[in-house]
Symmetry: C2
């Protein structure tokens, strides 16, 4: 138990959830479900049930240090690892791994995004514990795979093989987000699983994988080997982190390594990546309208997601189908649900036109 | 000149402009065009150019006494005539007429709504002066008629006759709002004119007409004949005004009297009655979107009216045609422009559901 660690990655901007998610207050800090806890807090709460609180780390961008400390008063400042700039998941995980290795050279680590929704928590915790046991005994990189309930194009997929090690299946390939046709074939095949982005490994296994597949990152962090978990760590990171390659752990390691195993899990998981995914999960009225946090009166409306970040307001909508209506702070967004991928474009345009005012 | 008076009717709620227009802050108090002056103030400013300021009266609901005094510091409190309840235009005009008669038994009066838009002010002022001259010399009830520029269904129409008195045409009939087919016939005939709701008469002419066509109202006001323009007026009105018939001046008098004359005018007038009428008047982008008071970024949008009552906000809209998007205070309204007549229904529903909170 004391060798078990958790790394929560909480540095994303979540611009696909704009205007709820803002650069200064990204989605992981928001309470989308009115539970009183943000996505980050719910993630922390889950892991705190099976991992010692002092072994839970948050890796995030410097800009969110204060927000994290506010939302998670349970953790010590030293458990918040700050990235001076955004370099995707591989450098983020490398940093956390080096830090944890300096604390505990036998650490078994579960790495998790801060913005996922997990509905069956008991099953989730059982699977994570099973994974931690497995990576303690096996020099394996483990990913949790979800059996697809529909041909989703927005997720990455993992192809399983016939080679098993206990309940763990050797992974054949990782694939990028497929088109709908391919996603249907994936789902029907029974061989493909959603890549949850939840990883487990022993600290030495992942550091070995970095050395093998991302040697530049390893070389860079090795320069500060004696500085991790000391007062010098911060300066070292400030200087060296920005020099790391901007690359994801999936692309940089998982797709290349030959010791990747998958545990097929069923804890009703969702990557709360977009307004559409929120619509899928949210309670809906008879006309499939999902209404978040506001008073709403709808006339001849169906399939909309209506989210006003203020419970003291009223929205009246008539004659609209399958739209996103999202308002937060000084921004109101109205766009077709099927075109939600363009929200990133809108944010970029708004930044060009108005600089930081509405971002 | 000193015999010329103006009565501005400013007691309406303007619920067709909800949520901009609120029961506590109706549309006549709003600055729709960013000119720095509300519709009421613009109306006052116009008349103040040709009528002594001390002869300009505002009749309004008690609820708006403070707003009027704030918006029109130029006038004296005694020039604000307060209705204790809503009784449509006939009792309103009767009250103002009795009050003015007590001040000046030879008064010539122009009566005007507080929410009209007039684009050619010089022509307007010339026509009003011509009308005031006419009603001084002739015992006539005068209305200003606008030659229809298109077959508008939302307006009342006036049918002219061949009988002329100077530039003034004797009116044959008033008609209610026609359907589109009829409105087309009206426009093509050349005989029909829009009823502007601007009236002129000598105080004795209108009081005689009340006696003839609305004798109950006359009887009621005659009870207080010696109280008008004295400190007792207020109590008398409090007690007697609510007993008056709820009826419009058009229906109660103008449609029935045989001394109604029309001056055909052309001062580019609009009854700013609905969001649609505002869309017609407002500056539009290449895709016919009218954007009021806000920062907006539109993608694949046409024919919309987008009005956020806050210049420090941003609205991003994608994939919407011919909608009203109006936000003010704690309410956001999104509805089809062609269904704007239903806004009254939405307001009524909101009142049922939430009482006064959003009204």
């Amino acid at each position: 138990m004391k060798d078990n660690y958790c790394v929560i990655m909480g540095g994303g901007i979540g611009s696909r959830f704009w205007p709820f998610s803002r650069e200064s207050y990204p989605k992981q800090f928001l309470d989308f479900f009115g539970s009183g806890r943000s996505l980050l807090q719910m993630t922390f709460d889950r892991f705190a049930k099976i991992i010692p609180v002092e072994n839970i780390y948050i890796v995030t961008n410097e800009a969110y240090a204060k927000l994290i400390a506010e939302q998670l008063p349970e953790i010590n400042e030293s458990q918040i690892l700050l990235e001076p700039c955004r370099r995707n998941t591989a450098p983020c995980i490398a940093y956390a791994s080096y830090h944890i290795k300096a604390c505990n050279p036998n650490a078994n680590i579960v790495v998790a995004p801060s913005d996922h929704l997990i509905l069956k928590e008991d099953a989730f915790l059982r699977d994570v514990q099973k994974g931690l046991e497995f990576v303690k005994e096996n020099k394996a990189l483990v990913t949790l795979g979800i059996r697809p309930s529909r041909p989703k194009t927005g997720y990455g997929y993992i192809q399983s093989s016939d080679t098993m090690l206990g309940d763990f299946t050797k992974v054949k390939t990782f694939t990028e987000k497929p088109n709908l046709e391919l996603a249907k074939i994936f789902q029907e095949s029974g061989e493909f699983f959603w890549n949850s982005g939840l990883f487990l490994w022993n600290v030495n296994s992942i550091l070995d994988a970095f050395e093998k597949f991302l040697p530049d990152i390893t070389a860079r962090f090795n320069l500060g080997m004696d500085k991790f978990n000391t007062p010098e760590e911060k300066d070292f990171i400030q200087e060296n982190f920005p020099c790391c390659l901007n690359i994801s752990i999936d692309y940089g390691i998982m797709e290349k390594a030959d010791n990747v195993y998958m545990l097929c899990v069923d804890f009703r998981w969702a990557d709360l990546g977009t307004w559409g995914s929120l619509h899928d999960l949210y309670k809906k009225d008879l006309n499939r309208n999902a209404i978040l946090k506001t008073n709403a009166m709808l006339y001849e409306c169906s399939g909309n997601i209506i989210a006003l970040n203020d419970p003291n307001r009223l929205v009246v909508v008539q004659g609209l189908d399958d739209f996103i209506i999202a308002e937060s702070g000084n921004v109101l967004l109205i766009c077709k649900k099927e075109d939600e991928a363009r929200i990133k474009e809108f944010v970029a345009d708004a930044q060009l036109k108005y600089e930081k005012e509405f971002i």
